[in-house]
Symmetry: C2
Subunit: 207 residues, 2 copies
């Protein structure tokens, strides 16, 4: 099984393959062809073959994929059988919005705790596991957290990032509108929403 | 003046050029060279020249750019002199978080009103201009709104989009985790946050 990361586009299609396969009557569809999947989902056959090859290898000629096997490969690949627990630092409005995103679990990620300064925790939503920052290191190491989300402001982002890295977090999703540095071996993905909107506005103004 | 949209990377640097220029003592720096800007901001000189050329044309050899002129070109280009008013539909947690993003105004966009179903408006934050959906069309046409933000769920996204297009909105920023269709001539930018996180998790699991 090829364990290389796939493109974002492919990753976006994998859940629809999985949904489709899960809905098939298993005893009637022991095997399924890329042609059938492509037709049902209104996608190109070549694309479907390529996507599935990345997670499962090729189907057998004239037989297709073993449905049960393909389902479990997709589930494995998407991490659905092994939810990744994530923590979030910065329990402001954006942080709380992300804590309530149901979509994340469908993609194999669960935000298990949010952290902020003790004085900011009082008035926040109590439906989530909200903890003071001084418990951050203990929590992350004891829960073996590998994924961290930063929703603090510019001024605190780098120091939060450093604390994450120190506890053993290996992937960081940053919403602070600034550049942050991570050491080699730590993955960083930044979302600059203001810049995204500015870019759209720029196209609008100049169109 | 070239009014073509610039790349997201260039757009990301324009505000720092502007900040730097604004802070210069105007009487001492009637002109400024790309070299000086590049050095101060720790950027490549070629990149700075290219970025500035996109909004202002080239500097004069041995003299550089007229500082005052360059400031006003950058302000114009970034739309700072002409704030774009935007509306948002879907006053849930994410919508409210976006309403409170101060960054947007720094980039020339102001979310002037948020809309939702009348029954959802009651318990929302009163610091923003929150209106019932039945006032949507009137508001947008009377305020000549051209930019709309969608933060409703998958099921309502397309119909909200259609209503936006009908009122004359020409650019849509969509956070609903689904594909939506816009007619030719309407700009669409989708942010699928769950997919972004899934992609990072996928790299983490397979690294």
């Amino acid at each position: 099984m090829d364990k290389n990361p796939v493109s974002k586009a492919t990753l976006g299609r994998l859940p629809s393959y999985l949904n489709y396969l899960r809905e098939l009557p298993q005893d009637e569809y022991k095997h399924i062809s890329a042609t059938a999947i492509a037709k049902y989902l209104n996608l190109g056959e070549v694309q479907v073959r390529k996507d599935l090859a990345a997670v499962s290898g090729a189907g057998k000629p004239k037989v297709g994929y073993n449905t049960k096997d393909l389902i479990s490969r997709l589930e494995d690949y998407l991490g659905y059988n092994k939810i990744t627990n994530a923590v979030l630092v910065g329990a402001g409005k954006l942080g709380m919005a992300l804590m309530h995103f149901e979509e994340f679990e469908r993609y194999g990620v669960k935000i298990v705790a949010a952290f902020d300064l003790p004085e900011k925790i009082g008035d926040a939503d109590s439906h989530v596991n909200l903890l003071p920052m001084n418990e951050f290191e203990n929590y992350c190491t004891s829960q073996n957290i590998k994924l961290g989300i930063i929703t603090v402001g510019e001024d605190a982002a780098q120091s939060v990032c450093n604390r994450m890295v120190k506890t053993g977090i290996k992937a960081i999703w940053n919403f602070a509108p600034c550049k942050i540095d991570v050491p080699n071996g730590v993955l960083l993905k930044s979302e600059n929403l203001a810049l995204s909107l500015a870019h759209l506005n720029n196209k609008l103004l100049n169109s």
